[in-house]
């Protein structure tokens, strides 16, 4: 699918989840617009996760919009996370921002303590190191933590890049997924617990420069699911309207 070349361009879809046991609509989106080659080296982040007595996990050269997943099987306790700007383009002086979404999990990949995934958002200047800790405990219902799972994202906004957003809406509920152009990965998946019926999905972007071609090529993945997260009857999205109209 390709959205229109205009500031504010928005595609509106309807997706029907007809099965009565539908709990939520799961959606993710990817921006597949070909990226023009850049003559400027990007800003980069390096992340390292350690726990005393265990093998550390790290990832290098995470550029703006990119994410990486790390897992350290070191049980409950305090994990140290360190982020620095190794390898970054030092000519770009803008501080970078990043987010750390962490899950303390048992052997069955169930959340332990804390009982929900937590997200930390931070900022870092060139040549600096950001150090902080996250703690995992024991849950009364799901038992001991066996590992820490981390989704690390370089959330630095590249002013030259356009991000693709997808909103899922039903009644008074809504959620949003974003994909940054330039990689082969879908956005994070989002779930909207609206039950059975019609969901509205909007696809739009952060285009800002009228002189550029702001049309975006994209692909949506979607499925209606029940409480057990199994797929239920999912109709093909119906494109209702594109703004601006041809």
């Amino acid at each position: 699918m390709t959205s229109k070349n205009a500031i504010g361009a928005t595609d509106l879809f309807r997706i029907n989840c007809g099965a009565p046991d539908t709990d939520h609509l799961n959606v993710k989106v990817i921006d597949t617009t070909p990226l023009p080659p850049s003559a400027i080296d990007p800003q980069l982040l390096h992340v390292n996760i350690t726990k005393k007595g265990y093998q550390p996990q790290e990832a290098f050269a995470i550029a703006p919009g990119e994410k990486t997943e790390l897992s350290v099987a070191a049980g409950k306790g305090s994990y140290k996370i360190s982020v620095d700007t190794s390898g970054t383009n030092l000519d770009i002086l803008t501080p970078q921002t990043f987010s750390v979404e962490y899950h303390c999990l048992n052997d069955a990949d169930q959340l332990t303590a804390p009982a929900v995934a937590r997200t930390l958002a931070k900022k870092i200047k060139n040549k600096k190191t950001s150090k902080f800790s996250v703690a995992c405990g024991k849950s009364k219902t799901t038992g001991e933590t066996t590992k820490l799972y981390v989704k690390f994202t370089n959330t630095t906004v590249d002013p030259a890049k356009v991000a693709l957003n997808a909103q899922v809406i039903k009644g008074s509920l809504a959620t949003n997924a974003t994909d940054q152009n330039g990689d082969d990965f879908y956005s994070d998946e989002v779930n909207l617990p609206g039950g059975s019926g019609d969901y509205t999905v909007l696809v739009d972007n952060t285009a800002f420069d009228k002189s550029q071609d702001n049309s975006r090529d994209y692909s949506l993945q979607y499925s209606c699911r029940n409480l057990q997260n199994s797929e239920t009857a999912t109709e093909t999205p119906l494109l209702i309207k594109q703004f601006p109209a041809p």
């Binding site: 500031i7 504010g8 361009a9 928005t10 509106l12 501080p95 921002t97 987010s99 979404e101 997200t119 930390l120 958002a121 900022k123 994202t153 959330t155 906004v157 002013p159 991000a163 957003n165 909103q167 809406i169 008074s172 509920l173 809504a174 959620t175 949003n176 997924a177 974003t178 940054q180 994070d188 989002v190 509205t200 909007l202 739009d204 972007n205 952060t206 285009a207 800002f208 209702i240 309207k241 703004f243």
Partner: protein
């Protein structure tokens, strides 16, 4: 006597100028640090005696410096538009848009979201207008706050 007439003249022209500008509506809010955090509002447009509603004007401003770009989408039936403020903390709003949907007692859904994880705060400016761009009756109802 001349002074009274002068003051009366000033008052009348100030009133005319004020009614021409119209009343801007501002809604502030905050999106939590989660990447998918989304706020939802319902805006109702009605004839308050000044004219029949014709369109909804909207624009959004991201308030916190270095926060993720903040976007607003407006939907009415099968029509939807989006606008984004990419730079937080400056004085500039996003590009302004008007969703044209003539009709009295009409409702629009407004969704506010952002393009990355990280806390964001916003100021949404919105108002219902008649076909000449004059303000008409405008109400807002928060539906979701994340």
């Amino acid at each position: 006597m001349k002074n009274v007439k002068t003051w009366r003249w000033l008052f009348v022209h100030a009133a005319i100028a004020y009614s021409s500008i119209g009343i801007a509506h501002d809604q502030g809010g905050t999106l939590n640090a989660g990447a998918s955090a989304t706020d939802v509002y319902q805006v109702s447009c009605f004839d308050d005696g000044g004219g029949k509603p014709y369109q909804l004007f909207f624009e959004i401003k991201s308030v916190i410096p270095a926060s993720p770009p903040v976007s607003a989408q407006v939907i009415n039936d099968d029509l939807a538009m989006s606008t984004t403020d990419r730079v937080g903390g400056d004085e500039n709003y996003s590009p302004e848009l008007q969703v044209v949907k003539p009709g009295n007692n009409d409702t629009y859904t407004i969704v506010i979201d952002k393009s990355a994880a990280g806390k964001a705060s916003y100021s949404l400016e919105y108002h219902c207008q008649d076909s000449h761009g004059n303000h008409t009756g405008t109400d807002i109802l928060p539906l979701q706050n994340q």
